[in-house]
Symmetry: C2
């Protein structure tokens, strides 16, 4: 992607995140970018193309964050690092994360299929974190893998609605993980 | 609210959930409802009024679900029942829940302030479930109340994106609670 296209995509992501895809007109995009509407079409194709480019950036960023989780770390540690990675993407690329998480439904055709497949693959990789942990040990043997993955990924996905740039996402991920790992129940005596 | 207004609000919620607030025109609403556009304005005021009515329904339903959680139940049980209540609202009123969770940002003026205050109050009531549990006992004494409430409520909020009418929400809430209560870590020996 050219630097200019990347800049246009970044600005489009900001507007889509702020106003929603349907709330953002090509007129508004052209105005925000300081270009003629005609030039915007020739530079970027269409509003759908800009939405797709944003979604592609989001998919790449979230997958790259999971790629960085070491295969051979203990299961609980892998969950912690995966959550750190996800929250860091949300914090550092809040517009892209917001659009990826909320506006995918407005994609059409093949691009929609492609991005839905990326989202499913990301969810499957999260489930694998838990199922591999079960196999290798480190997680409770009666763990409900599907529910655990859904719980963590739901919390991670929802973060785009409340995460602010001043939050230390690593510390936050560690706080979530601490709850997930040992639970909320208090015990008078050891189990 | 009259039966007719309630019906119009329900249909508006369905369209807002499907296409987003900005993606739903008064023309589309009038067509879906089989009324003239002019009649729609006189019946419902404006698209903003319909959005507000939907948001009001959502706020009322989520608060009513929390009202039903017994004050004197053990802390862990209260969390379980609160989660059951939330997921039931999402499942039974998926359109209203979707709009309440996702489209509030398009409300203007006083209605926006009112609904944001309802959302904050709902979050505070969730935090109170955990902080009261800490005071009365039943939760681990080092529990991070803010992180626990954020984790559970995030998962609950995100449910509008994946919950389907065929899911048994009580069973699902219980599965989430089981993970939250005792955590995911496996132990070779008792703690």
């Amino acid at each position: 992607m050219s630097a200019r296209k990347a800049e246009l995509t970044r600005e489009a992501a900001r507007l889509f995140a702020e106003r929603g895809y349907h709330g953002t007109s090509m007129d508004a995009l052209a105005q925000a970018l300081g270009v003629q509407k005609g030039s915007l079409y020739s530079l970027t194709g269409s509003k759908q193309e800009l939405l797709y480019a944003t979604m592609r950036d989001g998919a790449d960023a979230f997958h790259a964050a999971l790629d960085a989780v070491p295969e051979d770390a203990p299961a609980v540690e892998r969950v912690r690092l995966a959550l750190r990675g996800h929250l860091r993407v949300v914090s550092e690329q809040i517009d892209v994360a917001t659009v990826f998480t909320r506006e995918w439904r407005y994609l059409d055709g093949e691009h929609r299929e492609e991005i839905l497949a990326e989202r499913r693959r990301y969810e499957e990789r999260w489930r694998a974190l838990f199922s591999e942990g079960l196999e290798k040990g480190g997680l409770r043997t009666d763990l409900d893998v599907a529910a655990a993955a859904l719980l963590v990924l739901s919390a991670a996905n929802w973060a785009y609605t409340w995460l602010t740039p001043d939050r230390d996402t690593d510390e936050l991920a560690d706080r979530f993980t601490a709850i997930l790992v040992d639970g909320i129940r208090g015990y008078a005596t050891p189990r």
